[in-house]
């Protein structure tokens, strides 16, 4: 914090605005990064699906920590409520429901060289992302801004204003998307009970042949 007094006033204000003492921000970042990487590696490497789901929770909490570190408090709360509260519970429910909490047979490799190739491809993708991020001006066009982040008002207020003005149509479409998802889930996971008078496929075929005679 002593370094701030040496800088000009706007810079000091900006540092205070974005929540920034030196130590705590780095500490939160480091803890969050450790949680994210531990959890992600756990999801990929652990054999039991239940353990994978629990490791996923660790990663999601780590991402929520990073959101807090970046002053996105609303998204941090939503991250925990939606992901840790709903998505992972759904995962665990399906794992328990299907009874697949048995370790995966990792020894049997169905396709030859698939795993080494996958790891190679992953490392290649990482290098590509990092190289692309170092190359300037590979994006063109005029930047647009849907609203300022560091203005007055709380984080929730600004996100609300942004969603309910500029992003209103997408917001309404997410409502339709959620409804479609609910109906799809019910239809897909429903057991088929034949109603009275309904014929099976074989019966229909037989009836068709009967009528064509």
């Amino acid at each position: 914090m002593t370094a701030v007094f040496g800088t000009s006033l706007p810079a000091a204000l900006l540092a205070a605005e974005s929540g920034g003492h030196g130590g705590p921000a780095w500490a939160v970042y480091a803890v969050g990064a450790a949680m994210i990487l531990t959890g992600a590696l756990g999801v990929v490497l652990l054999r039991n699906p239940v353990h994978c789901a629990l490791m996923l929770v660790i990663t999601l909490f780590g991402v929520a920590l990073e959101f807090i570190d970046e002053s996105a408090s609303f998204l941090a709360a939503v991250q925990i409520i939606v992901y840790a509260g709903a998505v992972v519970i759904l995962f665990l429910f399906v794992i328990m429901f299907l009874g697949v909490d048995k370790p995966e047979a990792v020894r049997s490799e169905p396709t030859r060289l698939q795993r080494p190739l996958a790891v190679l491809l992953g490392i290649g993708a990482l290098i590509e992302i990092l190289v692309l991020s170092r190359v300037d001006h590979w994006a063109s066009g005029t930047p647009s801004q849907s609203g300022v982040l560091n203005g007055s008002g709380t984080n929730v207020q600004k996100i609300g204003q942004s969603i309910f003005t500029g992003y209103l149509l997408p917001f309404e479409m997410t409502a339709a998307l959620l409804l479609i998802a609910v109906v799809a889930a019910v239809v897909l996971s429903r057991r088929h009970h034949p109603v009275a008078g309904e014929m099976s496929a074989e019966q229909q075929q037989a009836a068709l042949e009967e009528s064509s005679k």
Partner: protein, 101 residues
């Protein structure tokens, strides 16, 4: 002094890579789904970082929509897995080869 944005972007890139590699390596459909969630979270982290970097609330609004789409995707995907299990008791991607030409 806050943490520079580059650190978050590198962390997101690493998280995305782990998720993508996991998606290719694992055979269990449920775990493959979890790897997709990892990749979505990496993208969310990138969105929030660029929102801070460019002083633009749009990045944070986009994360909101990604969360909704991810929730819908998980619901439908898990329903498909449950329906698949009804027909054949298997949860690995190799068991779903009935559509192979």
């Amino acid at each position: 002094m806050t943490v520079p944005s580059a650190w978050y972007l590198i962390l997101a890139a690493v998280l995305f890579t782990i998720g993508a590699t996991g998606l290719l390596v694992r055979r269990n459909v449920l775990v493959m789904f979890m790897c997709i969630e990892l990749m979505l979270n990496a993208v969310n982290l990138t969105f929030v970082t660029f929102a801070r970097l460019l002083n633009d609330i749009g990045g944070q609004s986009d994360v909101f929509f990604v969360l909704v789409v991810a929730a819908a995707e998980v619901v439908v995907g898990l329903a498909i897995i449950v329906a698949m299990f009804r027909r054949r008791a298997a949860a690995t991607a190799d068991d779903i080869h009935t559509l192979r030409g």
